[in-house]
Amino acid sequence: MSELTDLYQEVILDHNRRPHNFRAIDAASAKQEGYNPLCGDRLTLYLTLDGEVIKDAAFQGSGCAISKASASLMTDAVKGKTVAEARALFDAFHAMITSDPTTPLPDLSAEAQSAKVDLGKLSVFAGVREYPTRIKCASLAWHTMKAAVARETDAPVSTE
């Protein structure tokens, strides 16, 4: 079994204590709520889009350390990216945290080569795959982002 420090890496604990982009954007072009009824995590994600480019990203809400740090690092990561790049990042992140923990991690560098996706700091969440009950915590912000850019629904996104 993995060590707790694999899950609660310093970067994650720092972002939990002092989350980045933890604010509302009044004139956001997309605003989306996300909810994990299992543990009560709730967040509101704000995106400012300039055409296809995410100019600004921020969030508010309450949740566990994993979900808060994930939202913090995600908002950092998607700023300046196009919607398509943010979606590719979602796919790579999702593949990482849901991969089989008995196998080596997906080859991020190869994936980065082919899809121009660099998870960078987001790879601190790799340890989540060892904790199946926490995958939804790490993915809540990402599912919310995906819904926000799709703008298909105003209904809150639920992990359930």
Binding site: M1, L4, L7, Y8, L13, N16, P37, L38, C39, G40, D41, R42, S62, G63, C64, A65, I66, K68, Y131, T133, R134, C137
Partner: protein, 418 residues
């Protein structure tokens, strides 16, 4: 004498927790390489060997359908199934076993009463009284039937200690009140509600009362005749029995007047396309082949509970709860949620700076099983303006050593989030 010391004395007299623990095989399990500390019995309890064996025995020596065939195995299966019904009647002091409907569990029992008693009765303007302490399973079935009938739901609020506001309860009751549905013990906070007097008050305005006893059954001695309740529901799996079965006790006159809940085999006495005659109570509420193995195990669980000195067991549990409350309160940044004067089995709390879900993962790594989250009681969380709690819940097999392990684990939580 402190409650803890009293608990010790009674333990010495009538209750030996080491003997009890030896009856539960899973308590010797290692979790992440550490001895299991199981503090999640309000979620589901562990099962003694006698229950596991009873389930196994049914499949090995009695597996057949009930009430149907003439062969010996069917006789054995029927005897086990009906035996458990009689045991449940004894356990609840119901008297007549025909007042015992075997269900899938508490949720099933509440839905049955909502649909078979509530739905034909309720009209626009009628009221259903619930409380803020209720589990979602004692809220949503009533919302469904209120939507179907035009009845209105009224909710009794709670004070800061997590106790029902009984003055408000008295004010809410009126000739419009048709049904009161209230938990005997709160799953999220452990509050024991004064249901006997609440039932009498409801009867005075002509309402019937359903008591959700899911959390009471593993702890308290229940006497449905003394309580004078109309319906009492519980789940086998919270009281050391298998999952997927439970009991609805109903006053016989009410059950007889109610239409069936679901149609199918076993709930009929004759079927033609012109007219179907329903079986008598309780069988008309038991359509289809039930969870026979589960019911056989449930009978063994009732035997188990009835074989111990329940008063001494409760004194032991109360002593462990008092100890847990005192130890957790000492932890810097700890906030206990729910400090009712009368409570049993549950300690809900928060640790400042650590979200309950993170605490749950860190405790699990140390072999300690607690529940974290809303405990299917979102209104309780909303009342205290909190997203979730850490809930340590107790059963007869828990000890002070379990609490010491919990406290050590919580210090580890604080260390990670310092």
């Amino acid at each position: 004498m402190t409650p803890s010391a009293l608990g010790d004395r009674r333990s010495a007299l009538g209750f030996d927790v080491a003997t009890i623990r030896a009856d539960f095989p899973i308590l010797s399990e290692l979790i992440h390489g550490k001895p299991l500390v199981y503090l999640d019995s309000a979620n589901t309890s562990q099962k003694p060997l006698s229950v596991i064996k009873a389930t196994d025995n049914y499949y090995r020596h009695a597996n057949a359908n009930i009430h149907r065939a003439t062969h010996l195995l069917s006789e054995r299966a029927t005897a086990l199934y009906e035996g458990s019904r009689k045991k449940a009647a004894t356990f609840l002091n119901a008297g007549d076993p025909h007042t015992i409907v075997l269900t899938k569990g508490t949720t099933d029992g509440i839905n049955l009463v909502a649909q078979s008693y509530g739905r034909p009765l309720l009209k626009p303007g009628d009221e259903i009284v619930l409380s803020w302490l209720e589990h979602h399973s004692n809220i949503v079935p009533w919302q469904l039937v209120a939507g179907q009938t035009g009845a209105t739901i009224k909710v009794v609020s709670i004070n800061d200690a997590g106790e029902l506001d009984l003055e408000e309860y008295a004010r809410l009751l009126s000739s419009r009140t048709k049904i009161v549905a209230v938990g005997h013990v709160s799953n999220a906070l452990g509050t024991i509600n004064p249901i006997k007097s609440m039932i009498a008050q409801a009867h005075a305005v002509g309402a019937v009362v359903l008591v959700d006893g899911a959390q009471a059954a593993p702890h308290l001695v229940i006497d449905v005749q003394d309580l004078d309740c109309d319906f009492y529901v519980l789940s086998s799996h919270k009281m050391f029995g298998p999952t997927g079965t439970g009991v609805l006790y109903g006053r016989r006159t009410l059950l007889e007047a109610m239409p069936p809940y679901q149609g199918g085999g076993d709930m009929i006495s004759s079927v033609t396309f012109e007219k179907t005659l329903y079986n008598q109570v309780p069988y008309k509420f038991e359509a289809g082949t039930p969870n026979i193995a589960g019911v056989a195990g449930f009978g063994a669980a009732i035997d188990y509970l009835m074989s111990i000195d329940r008063e001494a067991a409760l004194a032991h549990e109360d002593a462990v709860l008092d100890y847990a409350t005192a130890r957790v309160r000492e932890i810097p940044g700890a906030r206990i949620i729910g400090e009712a004067r009368h409570k049993t089995g549950v300690l809900s709390f928060l640790i400042e700076g650590a979200h309950p879900h993170d605490a749950g993962t860190i405790l699990d790594q140390q072999g300690i099983a607690v529940r974290t989250g809303q405990h299917c009681a979102q209104p309780v969380m909303d009342k205290f303006c909190i997203p979730a709690t850490i809930r340590a819940s107790l059963a007869i097999y828990n000890t002070r050593e379990d609490i010491d392990a919990l406290v050590k684990g919580l210090h580890k939580v604080r260390e990670v989030f310092s």
